[in-house]
Symmetry: C2
Subunit: 227 residues, 2 copies
């Protein structure tokens, strides 16, 4: 197989568009398409075709003029690039509403994420199972993460407990943290922190809504809702 030279550093923007492409590609693959062009992909999202082409460059896949890219190849290469081809075990801390929803989200396995257990200090939750996953007391996290070689921690506790949950994880050897709490977290430089914040997305929505309202009917939706 032929590979193009890949860019050395991949932008966050590109990284965030790749899952979009992937979902689309899986859909068109299920529909039986063998090839897809950047033009087609771009049309779906109202992106620039060149941007799609540049994004796909990072996967190493090469396209064919007049044909496009092999869908199956792209799907695989994007997954590989994102690290979704190999399952990562993860612990979740905070078995509240959001935690439960995350525990029940079956699609995570498609994204290489396997939540193996939940941790919570609420005695009513400890000992129960949520979607088949045990809820354990927080003081067992350190031991278990070391024994089971779990390197990803998901934080779904309230903001005020987020930092202490993270400290616990870091001390337990967790190497990457996916944070759902709306709080700025302090972590050592060698730990990866990624914030999944709903409020950011909501901010864009409500601000647009307000602008539309303020400006009346003219100029509606002038902020293009990309990415």
């Amino acid at each position: 197989m032929i590979f193009k030279k890949k860019p050395l550093v991949v932008s966050r923007s590109t990284l965030k568009r790749l899952p979009l492409y992937l979902h689309l590609l899986e859909k068109v693959m299920a529909e039986g398409a063998e090839y897809v062009s950047c033009t087609q992909i771009a049309k779906e999202f109202d992106f620039d075709p060149t941007q799609v082409r540049k994004d796909l460059e990072v996967t190493g896949e090469v396209g064919t003029a007049r044909i496009g890219f092999r869908v199956a190849g792209l799907v695989d290469s994007i997954k590989e690039f994102l690290g979704w081809n190999n399952a990562h075990d993860a612990f979740l801390v905070g078995a509240g509403n959001l935690g439960k929803a995350l525990l029940g989200y079956r699609d995570f396995e498609k994204y290489g994420l396997n939540i193996v257990a939940a941790f919570d200090n609420d005695p009513r939750k400890v000992g129960t199972r949520i979607f088949g996953k045990e809820v354990l007391p927080l003081n067992r996290l350190a031991n278990l993460s070391k024994r089971m070689h779990v390197h990803i921690g998901i934080v779904s506790v309230p903001a005020e407990h987020a930092q202490s949950a993270v400290d616990l994880m870091v001390n337990a050897g967790i190497k990457a943290i996916w944070n759902f709490a709306p709080a700025p977290l302090r972590i050592p430089a060698d730990v990866i922190l990624e914030n999944a914040r709903l409020t950011q997305s909501l901010a864009v929505l409500t601000n647009n809504l307000k602008r539309n309202r303020d400006q009346g009917e003219n100029n509606a939706n002038s902020d293009v809702s990309k990415i």
Copy 2:
């Protein structure tokens, strides 16, 4: 009160940082601080102070040299700017795990979002209440949204049903859609669409993790985890 001239168009990046500032500001306000400087805020997030200053410009607040900004004023102006000072009623479609979590998320009211009812076609769910909110059949959405003047729709159905849910909402007069389904959606230009996609955030995390693994211990976390 004195206002600075505000930038006419606010970037998506700025818009997404504002909630971060807001959460921090509410915290420091609770701690009793009356003033806060951009330098301090920047330090919390590892941002550039100038960037914070530029971001805060959009709120119209003016700071004082050597002192900074009034925390209370900033909090209020950011909320106002984001449209979080006035409650927006919203309908939620899809009372699955994620839908339930969203219905139970009490903080939404802080962000001006008030989910008034849920819709689902599962007969086992219809008629029940989730966190006090009624679950209604989808065919009642159009009528109710018009009668209750609800303009925001939250989509938490599986990807394959997302487009039809959105079509229904658009026909019902919904003006802004917050989409949690991993599917590209087609909507009219005058409807606001904002995608809240977990997978994008997860993509950044897992890719970083893969890179760290690939590159061994050198150069860990070279992609700074900002925003």
